[in-house]
């Protein structure tokens, strides 16, 4: 078969029947562009949930029980943007006659402010300052203790033993119960030194937490967990979101493909005369099918390319400022910091819509292709 001949004929058929080609192309362009943008939005939602969840405190990867001899720089491998050094101890807080158990995390306030978003959730007072004997406490715990900003809180490792005194500089409220009720923060070395330390690793956009987890070289005594391991509920929610988006894509294309199928059937049957004439000139059935496949795939791929470009442009336009869904997410723990969605493209979100378009277009063409390939030229010629 002379592939170049048939490609040339297919191209001329498409180019010289511009109205039909344009109508079909417009349907494919709009479907592909819409799906690319929707998928980018869906990925943006997942990104926002992860970003919101990890940016408060934990980071994408958390390493615990790191021996004191290991420097934080050791953990700054490819893809890691910030390494926050912390120490965590279980303590009792006392004020007046009230007590509350909490995990007290010693932090470098400047580094934390640079990498995390917890300081933005300050409900009263302010975030601690480096070198100060200050305490940053969940609003609910502060209420339990009956403590106000500027009051002194006693910190001990048992309910009865009094250790150090810290001044409450601020309270926070995230809406996430384990965080609001289970964690408190003070600047470095205020909660007592221990041999080992913990690290919260914040990754650059698009870097896989699992790959960083696998690439960290730490002693066996250290434990490294990713956000997905610490928050399986969030992982499931994101997987569910992706699955729903895939189903939406297939369903949308199934519905759109009905329209595309009708248009393709009309497009192919409109040219039945040409196919009858070509058959009378000795064109093989296989060549007729090749011509139709080239027409369908050429049109679909060209229209898909435009659709991809349009979808990318739309995503790029929206990704900068983002879509503020704050009004819809303000009570959702996975949007504790910000409800702004930044659509993001992935290779899969760019490839899947065109592939679905091609698949459904070829499926739509099967029936008219079979019909034309099997029709005797005399039947067509008599009907002209």
């Amino acid at each position: 078969m002379n592939f170049l001949l048939w490609w040339g004929v297919a191209w001329r058929f498409l180019w010289r029947s511009r109205k039909s080609t344009g109508t079909l192309a417009a349907m494919i362009v709009s479907a592909v562009a819409t799906l690319i943008f929707l998928d980018a939005l869906s990925i943006g939602v997942s990104d926002a949930m992860i970003r919101n969840s990890v940016s408060l405190v934990s980071g994408h990867v958390m390493a615990e029980h790191i021996p004191a001899g290991i420097a934080p720089e050791t953990l700054r491998i490819a893809g890691v943007q910030h390494v926050l050094k912390r120490r965590t101890s279980q303590v009792w807080l006392r004020h007046g006659g009230q007590m509350a158990a909490t995990a007290l995390v010693t932090v470098d306030p400047d580094a934390e402010r640079n990498a995390t978003a917890l300081w933005r959730k300050t409900s009263a007072g302010r975030y601690p300052r480096a070198g100060q004997k200050e305490l940053f406490l969940g609003e609910a715990v502060a209420r339990t203790l009956g403590v106000n900003i500027g009051d002194t809180v006693l910190v001990g490792t048992t309910p009865t033993r009094t250790g150090r005194e810290l001044v409450l500089c601020g309270t926070f409220r995230t809406g996430i119960a384990p965080l609001d009720q289970g964690l408190s923060f003070c600047p470095n070395l205020q909660a007592g030194a221990r041999d080992d330390w913990d690290a919260a690793l914040f990754l650059a956009d698009g870097v896989s937490a699992e790959s960083v987890q696998g690439n960290l070289r730490l002693p066996a005594s250290a434990t490294v967990t990713t956000w997905a391991e610490r928050m399986p509920d969030l992982k499931q929610l994101i997987d569910l979101n992706s699955l729903c988006m895939l189903l939406v894509m297939i369903l949308v294309f199934f519905i759109v493909s009905l329209g595309i199928a009708c248009a393709f059937v009309i497009f192919i049957l409109k040219n039945i005369r040409e196919h009858g004439i070509m058959k009378s000139m000795g064109v093989f059935s296989g060549e007729t099918v090749l011509l139709l496949v080239l027409e369908i795939s050429g049109l679909t791929l060209a229209a898909s390319a435009v659709g991809v470009a349009l979808g990318c442009a739309l995503t790029w336009l929206v990704a900068g400022p983002g879509v503020d869904l704050g009004a819809l997410t303000s009570h959702n723990q996975y949007f504790a910091v910000s409800g702004v969605i930044h659509p993001r493209l992935t290779l899969l979100s760019l490839a899947l819509p065109p592939l679905l378009a091609l698949l459904f277009a070829l499926l739509a063409g099967i029936w008219p292709m079979c019909m034309i390939a099997r029709q005797r030229p005399a039947e067509v010629l008599r009907s002209i």
Partner: protein, 225 residues
């Protein structure tokens, strides 16, 4: 050489099977021309399609250029059509999305003629039919006479050994029709082509070597020059 023996063809209709070609037999030497005369519905077009393999006979045998056309199917039939046969239809039937030059070149490209040879042959034919200046025009831009001339050029472009023409002049005025027929028979003789024309134009019979008169699917009269 074309040899047709006892060929019949009937179509199913609400009145039952209607015979369109009924026991036709004749032969024609290679390089000769034949005009098939008859009124509408006499079976001229069907007989032409049967000889060209576009229809299959219900019974009888058709041998064209040593090929058993009555039993050819699929690739062998398509191969026979693309190499040995040129069809000239009543209304030209040009491929509407191809230009004049592309239409004429199409059978050459189908037969894998090199592009340079293809271009030369197309130019030569368009010169012969007086349409070299319309090479880039689409069929919708041409008149009826021009369409038929291009259709003729396409039908003979690959130098088929047999040309089958189905009422090629019915949509043309007498002057244009005569010019086309003259061109067809003249080039046919030059290239040693066997030419069969279905027509109801008596003027065509004067140009053909032989004439068959058909009525109700049967040969009722036969004239040799």
């Amino acid at each position: 050489m074309i040899t047709i023996t006892g060929v019949t063809k009937a179509y199913a209709s609400s009145r039952g099977l209607v015979p369109v070609v009924d026991g036709v037999s004749f032969s024609l030497d290679a390089g000769r021309s034949l005009a098939m005369m008859g009124r509408s519905g006499s079976g001229k077009t069907t007989l032409l399609y049967l000889i060209g393999g576009l229809e299959r006979p219900d019974s009888g045998q058709i041998f064209c250029l040593d090929q058993p056309v009555h039993s050819l199917t699929g690739r062998s039939l398509a191969g026979f059509l693309r190499k040995e046969v040129g069809f000239l239809f009543q209304f030209g039937n040009l491929l509407s999305y191809l230009t004049v030059a592309e239409n004429v070149a199409f059978p050459l490209r189908l037969n894998n003629v090199p592009v340079a040879e293809c271009t030369r042959r197309v130019h030569e034919l368009l010169e012969k039919i007086g349409l070299a200046s319309a090479a880039g025009a689409l069929p919708r831009e041409l008149s009826g006479g021009e369409i038929q001339r291009v259709a003729f050029a396409r039908a003979v472009a690959h130098r088929p050994r047999m040309l089958l023409a189905d009422e090629p002049t019915s949509s043309l005025d007498s002057g244009t029709a005569y010019a086309l027929m003259d061109l067809m028979f003249r080039i046919g003789r030059e290239e040693g082509r066997t030419t069969l024309v279905a027509t109801h134009d008596p003027a065509v019979t004067a140009l053909a070597d032989r004439t068959l008169h058909l009525q109700d699917g049967k040969i009722v009269e036969e004239n040799d020059d």
